[in-house]
Amino acid sequence: MKEKIIKKEQIGSWLEGLGKDYEIWAPVKKKGLVHFHHIESTKEIHFDFLNSKKTPKDLFFPQSEVLFSFAKEEVETTPQKARIIFAIRPCDAKSLALLDQVFDSEDYQDPYYVQRREGTLLLGMACTHPQRSCFCTSVKGGPFEKAHLDLLMADLGDGRYFVEALTERGEDLMEKDDSLQDPQKEERGKLAKVKEEAEKKVKSKLAMEGLEKKLDEIFDSSFWDRVHQKCLGCGICTYLCSTCHCFALLDEKDKCGVQRVRSWDSCMFPEFTLEASGHNPRISNRERMRQRVMHKFNYFVKRYGETACVGCGRCIQNCPVNMDIREIIEEIENERPLPS
């Protein structure tokens, strides 16, 4: 596919050109936090970010959305204008591919998600500065991973970006600007170098091999009694996770009437599994913590063949008590299975 070189100062006009046909969503810093916002001007873009605080999954699967209103016969869905997400990280792009498995499964396609997904192009920004808490390379990702993107840009460190189209739609975007140069040998060399450097920075290496099986073996282990102790049972790790996708259907009332709303929910909350009878199959934090780990590294693997974790490290950075999933995985590896 096509490759181009774009200067940093060209990005603005390129995106503004694309803005005629697309809504542009890009990292914007507000109140000290970087999130993906719909931008009016490319001046709003915050380029120097490690990663966004919240994941861009909420552009496809918002924290809360009205599915329909009971008062009206049909929901008026405003047709979604095609969108571009600019500078999405490869790890977050991968998370969308994992969510596709859930929301775009063979038997039931979630129309809300699928529509947004189809109408959105992903312009990836390679991660030249992976953080200490990153472990994407352990979960089949990488800072320059191209999978699931339409286009990947990489900062060459000299004010220029190497742009590679990965899909036809991505190629079309590149063709919209004819002032872009073709890359030469020198730039290719530079790209290889920044890529190598970035990959080296992903220091955490986790042995994921056999983790699924190991989890089967230690389901009833006292390991879970220990590991959950510090956990406060809040929803930060699940709500800031790029692959967590559990939700609740709720009836919410406002002045205009009743609406059925889909809203994120968290397996860390006791009410998540509380039944009307008062029975709760996951009675304590121990079971809930186990569910979270099992879902990511065992159940999801069994169902879809992949780990439901992209190694973005958000749960590690944001946990109020610094629970570290890497350490938990390591401990699991070292845990002796129960005698059967």
């Binding site: 389901f219 559990c246 939700f247 259907l249 009307a276």
Partner: protein
Amino acid sequence: MNDLYRPRLVTIRKTVIENEARDIKTFELVFLEQKDREKFKFDCGQFAMLSVPGAGESPIGIASSPLDDEYLHFTVKRYSTGVVTTALHGLEEESQIGVRGPYGNFYPLKAMQDKNILIVGGGFAFTTLRSTIRYLLHDKNRSRFKDITVFYGARSPGELIYKSELKEWEKRGDVNMYVTVDRGEESWKGRVGLVPNVLKEAAPSSENSMALVCGPPIMLKYTMPPLLDLGFSPERIITSMERRMSCGIGKCGRCNIASKFVCKDGPVFTYKELRDLPEAAV
């Protein structure tokens, strides 16, 4: 296309209070639109989401038979902490509610053909079994199955549900009925004893047989050993599970027992499957 989560409208044509405590009610529902009824093709053991605007949705097993094509039956127990069940019980006949489904898998009726069928139910968890019995006993079907034996128990006579049907079935010659209660009352002339004990005593043959078992966890726990003793292999013991659900289609993530979603991979599981699921606790 955006109707994945949108319930179809039904009218509550009739309600029947099933028990003395008056907290179990059967709702007879008819679709407002005939095409919705035609689309709603289900098998015994499946469930649907019942929807009361403002309260929410709840997964309820379908209690009518697939051959009852005019209406749907749902038997719902009201819990003081259950938003939807409380709202449902508060509705009058002729009210409109929503139904979304059918969802989940179903009892293996094909595999049950030409076999002896053992049905074991307890308390209020008799609803999808009732659907099955109605189906099996239907004139069209009865001859396709061998002996049918039903064990059904409740805490007290007043807590037995589907009473008039139980009586009808008892009158029939082509089904062996064992109705029992944990505690009898003066007026109760029938059996007294826990379901597992009655089952042990009656000792139905496991020869060419399959067992469908549904009941409270405690009953399941004590029913499995005698069934195994009688020679039912774990693959031929079928049961149905329940969990809190929101979507009913395997997306919302809450009803899983280990890697299986009760809404999609279940609610019907063989005892063998459940034993292999660590979280099932059976």
